[in-house]
Amino acid sequence: MGLELTVDNLVKRFGTRELFAIEQLQVREGESVHLKGENGVGKTTLMKIMAGLEKPCSGTVIVTPKQRRWWSGRIHPDVIYLHQTPYVFMSKVIDNVAYGLKLRGGSRQNIKIKVKQALVWARLEHLAEQPAHSLSGGERQRLALARAWILAPRLLFLDEPTANLDRHSVSTVAELVSQLLKQGTTIMVSSHQSNRVTELCTRHLLLEGGALHEGVHHENMPHEIDSMMEPQRYAQH
């Protein structure tokens, strides 16, 4: 059965200021959604609420099929949210990647193999033994992706994954995201402007003035320079 996330009459307020009110939103498995909106309209807040990390003031977020453990609360195990600037645990890169898998349990051998795969996938294998704090912004973003990828999430929230990255890192992240999409992961990307990652999305949502609008935006800004530089990103690795 496909994963489905339904948002119903969601309202979020900070103090007396209403950030947004959303009547209805459905995200089905296999979709790729771009959540657009200016800075400060509440994209981060909305995605955290949808991922179960924050409480709405009213309304519901339901993920079906339910897979609740008594302790998991609002957080669905197949739903993962990635911060705009990822938090890295004070340990080695390899331990950061293994974190979620160790929580799930399983044989050491198995974990080791999967971590190795994830590192290769995110092109971090040369940094495996480095302390995660020494990584650059782009490498941290890839680390966060690997840390999520290893858990095979079915719905992944990416909060402005390219906001603080240089162009080269952006194309690497875009590459990883397109692979996630090919694997059938449902993705929701927030971004205040369109870029290489949001171009991969087929559905566009606009959060504006506290309301959510549906729309297919054909951005008239092809990223020619980026495409011209594409071959380079393989050359460098």
Partner: protein, 198 residues
Amino acid sequence: MAILLSAIPAILVGFLLAMTDFPGRWIVIAVFNALMAVPTVVIGLTLYLLLSRSGPFGEMHLLFSQPAMVIGQILLCFPVLVCMSHAAFQGIDRRAWETARTLGAHCARASVTLACEARFALLAALLAGFSRIISEVGCSMMVGGNILGYSRNIPTAIALETSKGEFAQGIALGFVLLLLALVLNFALASVRGKGQLV
């Protein structure tokens, strides 16, 4: 001994104060901050009054015993531990919690992760609590009674030797304490240094 007894509950209190938001939270924090600065003799006096024959816990005959000293020491280091672990957990990014949770950690496991992230600050908290204990005379003296071989510890022994005029003995014991403090602090510094370099 006392530090071990109080470490876990104190760190838990510090954690709760940092993570939860309940009305009056800042009052609790302020109270613990104030307690941190209370002179040790005052705590000793309070405990003395509580434990003495005519006090509310008089029947337990705890005055001038080791349990009484341990209770005193717990009272001394608890506020220090609470305040410093509160600061430690507050220094941790809220994204750390969210990252742990979204990657499938339940609340208890995510808390452990946070404690790991704050490990150096927590270690420093333990050390500060321990310093408070080994540097005080007042409380031990009042409720322990400084009985030789039973409730005498190094600080109270120093106080006694000095009042007897036996300065050499006092100075020697003082060096022992100084050494102890230095060793502990160096140990912490080296662990921390390693943690940052690796």
